[in-house]
């Protein structure tokens, strides 16, 4: 991680209301977690009744690697038997899946 300074970027996640998960909304700069949280409050919650904010240092996030994209996510699309459309319809007007 880089040396802490006032320019350290933090990713901001907001829970807009009860029952919803925190969602990524953007980023702020801040020297530490408290300052980042205060900056996120000032920037992203001027309206509406936000329930809670998370801030996470941008360089603490690990992202999946683009070069591994295909093998990494391949199970999502290549297994048709994971989808209900793959099977015989329960009712007459429903069509078979592929």
């Amino acid at each position: 991680m880089s040396r802490p300074s006032g320019n350290t970027p933090w990713e901001v996640f907001i829970r807009p209301r009860r029952g919803l998960s925190h969602q990524h909304v953007g980023s702020v700069h801040g020297a530490d977690a408290d300052m980042a949280l205060a900056n996120a409050r000032d920037l992203y919650t001027r309206r509406g009744d936000t329930v809670s904010i998370w801030v996470v240092r941008s360089d603490a996030v690990r992202a999946s690697s683009p070069s591994e994209k295909d093998p990494f996510f391949s199970n999502a699309a290549d297994k048709p038997y994971r989808y209900p459309e793959y099977y015989v319809a329960l009712n007459q007007d429903e069509r078979h899946g592929n």
Partner: protein, 345 residues
Amino acid sequence: MVPVPGGASAPEQPGAVGVRDGGERPDAYFEALLAAGEPVETRDAMPDGYRRMLVRQIAQHAHSEIIGMQPEGGWLTRAPSLHRKAALLAKVQDEAGHGLYLYSAAETLGVSRAELLDALHSGHQRYAATFNHPALTWADTGAIAWLTDGAAVVNQVPLCHTSYGPYARAMRRVCQEEAFHVRQGYDLLWSLCRGTAGQREMAQDAVNRWWLPAVALMFGPPDTATGADDRTAAMGAALTRRSMAWGIKRHTNDELRQRFVDNCVPQAERLGVVLPDPAIRWNEERGHYDFSPIDWQQFREVLADGSHCGRQRLAHRVAAHEDGAWVRDAVDAFAARPGRPAADR
């Protein structure tokens, strides 16, 4: 999974810089995204020209938001009531926030906020020249919000669907807040127009001075044959074509300008002010209001660096930045202090 290098250049999906989705044929991948109407995200392969056009546009936009705080900010201590003062304070604070949303979006393209501010301060990047006009009376705060912000909304609503994801998301936040800006400005002028003769005169005078800057400068140079002489229009059209092909812009400048005029004419009538253009009249055939062609020569002069008010705006911005240096230094020292809690590192 691989560890990705983070750092100041890469908020939102950190580590994006230098690693791109797009495989062996990045150009085809990018074109396919555009063709499918899919947003382009931080880690997607993108042509360098696309990236540069975005940085330039988002930076210009961010700079305009923070310079745009000045004309109205000067009236904060002189607002005529606590209600108007609270509303104006909220609006000016929003403009600072819009600047931050946009700087944050620009940073996803691999530029740092410090670089962008340096470019603004040194004059290498520009902001909307509209704000190089002075705000002479209290009514100007109303006219700026109604006309300048009103023009900004017309520009920004299509940008909520611009092709670059982080920019589009920033614009959606901005647009939600701009509606308040325009309404409070119109409301302010509404009160003046229903006040004394002197107040009505002040409202009309402010509208007289802010109409043309909004119509001309908030939409940029003409880019269709209807907007100007052939040469000017051809230059604008080439840029607009490129931008539209990349899905950054969705409409021509002249199209949006017309939409703005069509919005304003009935609003001005309800308000009881006269828009300072004798050529404005409904054109049944076109289904739009006609208005005078804009004297672009005059506006090129406003755009030049020589404008007195423009120099003041920039000098004020630079002074504010320099006066704040000790705060940034103190924050850095605090962040680097020995014994800092591990959770903050």
